[in-house]
């Protein structure tokens, strides 16, 4: 891309970014829950007739190293093409003054993304000394591919209605782009970002200036940590490894140096961390553009991750009348995801558990059975019944004793920060 074209593209992209950033760009941590009567959206709302159709998705060459302008132009182009599925905003500025762009892939017609099970795709902060920081190309390709598939396939779009995927293609833009911009001043950094997180942080490291004077001493690590800590819905982190060796050995599961981003994700956020290494293989072309084979594999993994997120589902309720106005309701419950509902929020309090709330009748008792046939009574909290946690693929039955007149509609919801919300409605008769 020539310099002139690149600059024009940047301005276009920034304008698009501004246009696509909605008032609710920051997915709130605890958004007000949608009204109980709100039906789940069947699909994307039809755009108003007065709105122009979004531009076609850009076709990008992901085999070349992006500079900042190309990155922002590409991200802006993708955001403009999928206004119903993508929100982009800046987490803040790097030490070198570059924006750290966050892209949230989710179908907002189904409610706020901040209240749904979520995963993060991030370009890994770790890179070998003397080698270049990995660029944003692989994460951006995964984003473009996911959105293109969501537009083409109903099943993928449905996943984006019940989950969210956060993308941080360039969490360390100074490292990713400084070398590509000959006129850019190198940022003054006091440490390696991937050793600057508060998870077993140590003042002394094998490498000079590695861990920084204190954790989160750098604006990039601070912004990233704050963003992640506010996302109680996050279960999986896909850190796109910057290794360029074609046959890089898989990273050991317990490789988490003190103070590393990985240690922070595992030990503080309680998330699963995966390390795909996309920078390998021959280039091929898709609707999103040309990319190495490894990019396609990583993009497929990102999409598959959506199915692994914890997801509470409630089966058909079983109803028994005990007295004229007393009902026994058995609700089969399952976590259909691979990941457990237990997360960081569950460490010390009840607000991380699956919480049952009911409207339409008075729940006088609640018990739960985990497959052994024995029900254990649940103690009521202030405004909900905390049911504990469900491991991946786990099943349970919740038994409610409800006091209500015949014909009363009963609405039961199950919430947890990680698994989102499931609802079931029935009429007591």
């Amino acid at each position: 891309m020539s310099r002139c074209v690149r600059h024009r593209a940047t301005w276009t992209a920034l304008a698009l970014l501004a246009a696509t950033a909605p008032a609710r760009a920051q997915d709130p941590v605890t958004p007000p829950p949608p009204p109980a009567s709100e039906p789940p959206a069947a699909g994307a709302p039809a755009p108003p007739e007065s709105k122009p159709a979004p531009p076609a998705p850009p076709v990008i060459d992901y085999t070349v190293r992006f500079d900042l302008a190309t990155y922002e132009a590409s991200l802006g182009g993708i955001a403009a093409a999928y206004p119903d599925l993508l929100r982009v905003r800046s987490l803040g500025k790097s030490r070198g003054g570059r924006d750290i762009w966050l892209a949230v892939a989710a179908d907002d017609s189904a409610g706020d993304a901040g209240h749904r099970p979520a995963a993060l795709v991030v370009t890994d902060l770790a890179y070998l000394p003397k080698s270049r920081a990995p660029g944003p190309e692989a994460a951006l390709f995964a984003l473009a591919t996911l959105l293109e598939r969501a537009r083409a396939e109903t099943s993928v779009r449905e996943r984006l209605q019940r989950t969210a995927l956060y993308f941080l293609p360039a969490p360390d833009p100074d490292a990713a782009f400084a070398a590509a911009e000959s006129d850019a001043a190198a940022p003054v950094r006091r440490c390696r970002l991937d050793r600057n997180f508060p998870a077993g942080w140590q003042p002394y490291d094998a490498e000079s200036e590695a861990s920084g004077p204190y954790p989160l001493s750098e604006p990039e690590s601070r912004l990233l940590a704050h963003f992640l800590l506010e996302r109680l819905n996050l279960s999986i982190v896909l850190a796109f490894d910057g290794t360029t060796e074609p046959a890089a050995p898989p990273r050991a599961d317990d490789a988490r140096p003190p103070g590393s981003f990985e240690a922070f994700c595992r030990d503080v956020l309680d998330t699963t961390v995966l390390h795909p290494a996309p920078w390998n293989g021959a280039a091929r072309t898709s609707a999103a553009g040309s990319a190495p084979e490894g990019f396609f594999t990583a993009a497929a993994l990102a999409e598959r991750t959506l199915d692994e997120l914890p997801r509470i589902e409630c089966g058909a309720p079983k109803l028994e009348r005990l007295r004229p106005n007393v009902w026994l309701v058995d609700l089969p419950l399952a976590n259909t995801g691979v990941q457990p509902t237990r997360g960081r929020a569950a460490r010390t309090g009840e607000s991380g558990e699956v919480q049952l709330r009911a409207t339409g009748g008075l729940v006088v008792a609640c018990a739960m059975e985990h497959g052994g046939g024995t029900y254990d009574a649940v103690r009521a909290a202030r405004d909900a019944w905390p049911l504990g946690h469900l491991d991946g693929r786990a099943k349970a039955t919740v038994r409610l004793v409800v006091q209500a007149d015949e014909g009363t509609p009963l609405e039961v919801s199950f919430d947890s920060p990680r698994s989102g919300r499931a609802r079931v409605s029935l009429v007591l008769r």
């Binding site: 942080w201 003042p203 002394y204 490498e207 204190y214 506010e230 309090g349 607000s351 202030r382």
Partner: protein, 578 residues
């Protein structure tokens, strides 16, 4: 023992009379300090007055800007030092922090009194050393403490401690209406405490002991969750929010569950990083002595690291205060429990300063005139007859014995409120009592002069003992264009030139260079032998480095420059014309 340490100890053992202010100093003393508890407003006024009344020909005084707290309270601070060519910001600095723990108002007063003394006696300000004083280092918590509402050092950052979605909804209350918030004992079969042989005091419960208690602050269960005062107003204890060993005590507290998260606390850390911080004196604690880095049983430095420097500091402290305190001990010992996230550990480990906790107040600070014949109060062990109770209650701990001696022998028992029953509602009751606000954790105002005695002298003598570099050129000669230079560095101060930790945070696995000699060559000269820069490690007070030699090819008349640096000293340079 190293000869340098011996020399330093010999220096310390010399009987030096206290330095009296000169007549000129007495005539122009700046804003007057009185030994009493000052409010934050008064502290700010004192600091402002000191800055405004400074006379640069006598003392350099500058304001230090620190960000206000979350509720907008100022954090008054100033830098000062003897006049000289080196700006204060570039000098080796002694950082004086008062009450960073959010509890020690006595510590805050110690910073004020020391600052006042040094400003009034500029002859005691060592040349080329800067002092930075932050008397109220945790203003919100200290203000709470002063108002009788504090206790655990929290600032006012709103936190949902118990994760119930409500913030600060269950704090302490004055249940008995006596105008004070004290401690409360709630009977609980799983409780960790029992009342000791002197039932005013508690002891860890042993198997079979009954009744057992939970110890909480006085107050009702405001949010009805069965827990008492588990979500009080605030907050973050600044002195527990540093990164070494830090752990999150408030997992649900968004925005404050990270180390050094509060800007006004992080600013103090950054202050130590941006200055050439040689010593950090944290005035806080109630054990009356010096605490050393080591708030946990495992620390990232060797056990005996800098033992010589700490020994020197302990002798200076004993001499300045006249206290016969036990030898200084790591925080985990001095505080009798682990204190992860302590600021002291970080100031030692990362800025590499000589970091000390100075416990201004303690049970042995005031001396009884005659302890004989003063009996302990006859206390009723009211639970002894309960079924299941052990016949012999546990002994009072050594620390409590010391405090009991102070309380009964010097205060006639005044300062401790006997445990007395209060109603909690729903038929439950508890015992309220314990130490009054200004008794154990802070000195009673009447005892403040005794607590502050010698603190300023300690600061002055410690700063005077800081290392001073002297460059010794042992051989400078020329044969034609070939020049030979041999040099050593001497530390003519008392303390070593740095700590085991100095420079280590940035040096990776390599040993930090410590003191360093560098030869700067003129244009056209060539170094034939030797390294341009040589790390010499730590030089003990009164000691000298090994000799460094260079052979240089330089035209006649050339001027070479030898630079000497060390972590805790001013850099020096000397031009050499072989």
């Amino acid at each position: 023992m190293h000869t340098g340490i011996l020399a330093a100890l010999a220096f310390l053992l010399q009987e030096t009379p206290p330095v009296a202010p000169t007549a000129q100093e007495a005539a122009v003393a700046p804003a007057e300090y009185e030994p009493r508890y000052h409010t934050l407003g008064e502290v700010a006024a004192l600091v402002k007055g000191w800055i405004a009344s400074a006379r640069p020909e006598r003392t350099l005084v500058e304001a230090v800007d620190l960000p206000a707290t979350g509720t907008g309270l100022p954090v008054p601070a100033l830098a000062f030092g003897a006049p000289g060519g080196i700006p204060l910001a570039q000098r080796p600095t002694v950082l004086l922090l008062g009450g960073l723990d959010g509890v020690s108002l006595s510590g805050s007063e110690a910073v004020l009194s020391s600052t006042s003394m040094l400003l009034a006696q500029p002859s005691r300000l060592p040349r080329d050393i800067a002092f930075v004083a932050v008397p109220w280092a945790s203003p919100e918590a200290l203000a709470q403490m002063q108002a009788g509402r504090g206790g655990d050092g929290r600032d006012l950052t709103p936190l949902d401690d118990d994760g119930d979605g409500a913030v600060d909804e269950d704090g302490p209350d004055d249940l008995d209406g006596d105008g004070r918030i004290l401690d409360m004992l709630i009977e609980d079969p799983e409780g960790p405490w029992v009342r000791a042989a002197d039932p005013r005091f508690l002891a860890p419960a042993r198997a079979g002991d009954a009744p057992r208690y939970k110890l909480v602050r006085e107050g009702r269960d405001d949010d009805g969750d069965g827990k008492f005062n588990e979500d009080p107003a605030g907050g973050v204890c600044f002195d527990r929010s540093f990164p070494l060993g830090w752990r999150c005590d408030h997992p649900f507290a968004k925005g404050a569950e990270l180390p050094l998260e509060i800007p006004s606390c992080r600013a103090i850390a950054d202050l130590a990083l941006t200055r050439r911080t040689a010593a950090v004196l944290m005035f806080q604690g109630d054990y009356g002595g010096l605490g050393l880095p080591g708030s946990r049983h495992e620390n990232p430095w060797p056990k005996d690291a800098d033992a010589g420097a700490f020994e020197i500091a302990a002798r200076l402290f004993a001499r300045a205060t006249g206290r016969a305190t036990p030898p200084p001990a790591p925080l985990v010992v001095a505080r009798e429990q682990e204190r992860p996230g302590a600021g002291l550990d970080w100031f030692y480990a990362v800025p590499g300063a000589l970091a000390l906790e100075v416990a201004v107040w303690g049970p042995n600070v005031e001396k009884p005139a005659d302890a004989a014949g003063v009996g302990l109060a006859d206390a009723l062990f009211e639970n002894a007859g309960k079924p299941g109770a052990r016949a012999v209650p546990p002994a009072v701990s050594a620390t409590d014995v010391a405090w009991r001696r102070w309380l009964d022998n010097l205060r006639g028992g005044i300062g401790f409120v006997e445990w007395h029953p209060v109603e909690l509602g729903d038929g439950r009751s508890a015992l309220v009592g314990g130490w009054e606000p200004n008794s154990r954790r802070n000195a009673p105002e009447k005892s403040l002069p005794a607590a502050l005695a010698g603190m300023g002298d300690f600061v002055a003598e410690l700063s005077a003992a800081l290392p001073v570099l002297e460059l010794r050129l042992t051989d400078v000669r020329r044969e034609g264009e070939v020049c030979t230079i041999r040099a050593r560095i001497a530390d003519i101060g008392t303390l070593p030139t740095g700590a085991w930790t100095s420079g280590r945070a940035g040096s990776g696995t390599a040993t930090p260079p410590g003191a360093r000699l560098e030869l700067e060559l003129p244009a056209g000269a060539r170094l034939l032998s030797g390294e341009a820069g040589v790390g010499l490690g730590t030089i003990s007070g009164g000691g000298t480095s090994r000799e460094v030699s260079w052979i240089v090819l330089a035209a006649p008349g050339s001027v070479l420059t030898v630079h000497a640096t060390a972590p805790w000293t001013v850099a020096i340079a000397r031009e050499v014309k072989p």
